[in-house]
Symmetry: C2
Subunit: 213 residues, 2 copies
DNA sequence: TCATCAAGTTAGCATCTCTAACATATGTTA
DNA sequence: TAACATATGTTAGAGATGCTAACTTGATGA
């Protein structure tokens, strides 16, 4: 698929928007713009992203996005939200088949977390390291909490706690901090320099054990 | 001090530049622009920073910076480098008076790391979470390695290892990941929500113990 | 059928980065 | 000391961008 090809998704599923806005002129410009934004953020980096270029890629005028998004920031937020949904779903499916209450479940979540950072570094940066100064969007906040909740549930089972106790929250916070930092470092350094030295899975296992012991 | 006051530092010390460029028209425009950049990055956030505004604050035309920096990115890099020097010096002075080979030294470094992230979130973001897509400057890389070296030295002493062995590197990497992630999370959430729940120093102590045991 | 409204368009303003051409201070050298 | 070379600044302007206003078009439903 050529990178300059216009984007015309048939149906907007990921946006979670009213089906009523589905097919006017473009088909689903909102979804197309989100996809163009996602591509550009990965190709050029979040800082070099421009609305104009997304418009060119979606094959519409530069004024068109403003019928769907308040401004550039909202466009990025929508794109990040879409990414977070994918991220969460990946984490959940990574848990399938892994024994309940085992530390491997924690490790699996961590692997998926790091994988997302490495596979979609642009979105990852927008989501986390990103533009807190530009956005304090409650939807991003909430979406993050949901993902954190998945981890906490697993930690509770691992520790044999009855629910999300203070201790669970504390351990979860420590684990999250570690995996979060690891993701950033690996993403920044590139897998070559740091990931080559250590086996990622072994690293995450060791951490899970040290933290949950 | 008014935020619109012009910046006229008497002597450029932090830039580490040839003294020959000290006093032409402005005094030391290079240093003044770095300071203006630093202020703006903290006030408006790294994404909203503009060269024009830095010029206004330094009281020069918008073309003036290009006599000192190749482009906007180089201006930001110079500002981040200056911040990294300050950061490293703070870490080093945090070690003074703390017993050699104690885990408190590790904790002290961690505290300083987190403090920098919280006190200078804009620079911290540019330095790390920041604009890897825009910059892969070798000077930033090297400066980061130097800071990491400080940590590794302390880890080696803590573990009683003869030098920077593979095991030291591994533990140091784990510790760094954790503190790095913690800094990001605390910075993003704001101290209120997360830092309120846990005592930062205690958290870092616990981590140091779990990691170095 | 036709009025309404959603979703596009074009035109244009304000701002931004960066360059070219010009102006001036400084320090050097004949 | 006069003239030159260079560092450092200025003004003017090209090209890109974010966003708005005003207009056009096409789908939907009374």
């Amino acid at each position: 698929m050529s990178s300059t090809e216009k984007i015309h998704p048939s149906i907007s599923q990921a946006t979670g928007h009213a089906v009523s806005k589905k097919a006017y002129h473009h088909g689903d410009l909102r979804a197309a713009l989100i996809e163009a934004t996602r591509q550009l953020v990965e190709e050029k980096g979040p800082d070099s992203f421009s609305v104009s270029e997304a418009c060119r890629r979606a094959g519409v005028s530069t004024a068109a996005p403003y019928k769907h998004f308040k401004d550039k920031t909202e466009m990025l937020v929508a794109t990040v939200l879409e990414g977070m949904v994918r991220h969460r779903n990946k984490m959940l499916s990574a848990l399938e088949g892994v024994p309940e209450g085992s530390t491997e479940r924690i490790t699996a979540i961590g692997m998926e977390y790091v994988a997302f950072a490495l596979n979609e570094p642009g979105i990852f940066r927008l989501k986390f390291g990103g533009f807190t100064d530009r956005i304090a969007d409650p939807r991003l906040e909430e979406s993050g909490q949901q993902s954190f909740g998945i981890l906490l549930t697993e930690v509770a089972k691992c520790l044999g706690e009855p629910g999300i106790t203070d201790e669970v929250r504390r351990r979860g916070f420590l684990l999250w901090s570690f995996v979060h930092g690891l993701s950033f470092i690996l993403r920044d350094k590139g897998l070559a320099e740091k990931g080559g030295d250590f086996e990622l899975y072994a690293l995450l296992e060791e951490i899970a054990e040290r933290m949950l012991r």
